[in-house]
Symmetry: C2
Subunit: 134 residues, 2 copies
């Protein structure tokens, strides 16, 4: 029996605007998404989300709080991937698109564009201010 | 590059006593631990923790809240395993040892016996009442 993959996603709000990446590859190519990606072997999840956000947005971040754990088996069409979502605060860097994303975009978290995966749910849970329980 | 395994652990308090299992196999054989285990492909994490707790303790449980995410690469000597810990409430069943555990034991959560893995930290975070951040 296989095992689910583990990923992390980051919620970053700067002056009331949510930091998103516009996906440069399938699935959900061209759609907005939270910055994030897979956790590597030997890497703590807090380090993984900081690494992915830096790679994709140019921002250096620290973990502020846990938003929730997202594990519906169908949430990623590539296969079962469990994502741990964190609210992050910016501690350095400068916003720019990284190699994995075609663009970064600041959006209104209360009026989201169509979002990849279940990222609209993650933002909704972030705005509600508490970890999500099913 | 490999990926970390994903596990779940459950914190259950009944009449002020913490439900633990006494491990029947290495690592940490003979030590107390929280009930829990690996997440299977196609299984949501909330379902995984309920399944593992039922298997190991006989208790039917529902998720009350997220305690934290534990991902230090060295926390499990068998290899990098990220565990998601939930506080659970009992909704049925009856306490009995399951196949994976040699015994179940109710302990004082404020005066823990030596615990396997980082489970003493999980209980401490549970008692503090908020998700742990490093």
């Amino acid at each position: 029996m296989g095992h689910p993959r583990l990923a992390v996603d980051g919620v970053i709000v700067i002056d009331g605007r949510l930091v998103t990446v516009v996906r440069g590859q399938p699935p959900f190519e061209g759609m907005h998404a939270l910055p994030g990606g897979g956790v590597e072997l030997g890497e703590a999840v807090e380090a993984a989300v900081a690494r992915e956000v830096l790679e994709e947005t140019g921002l250096r971040v620290a973990v502020e709080r846990l938003v929730g754990v997202y594990s519906e088996p169908s949430r990623d069409p590539r296969g079962h991937t469990v994502s741990i979502a964190y609210a992050l605060r910016v501690i350095g860097g400068a916003l720019r698109a990284g190699s994995d994303a075609s663009a970064v975009d600041l959006v209104d978290p209360n009026r989201l564009p169509p979002m990849a995966f279940d990222h609209a749910q993650i933002v909704s849970d972030f705005l509600a201010g508490r970890p999500r329980l099913r």
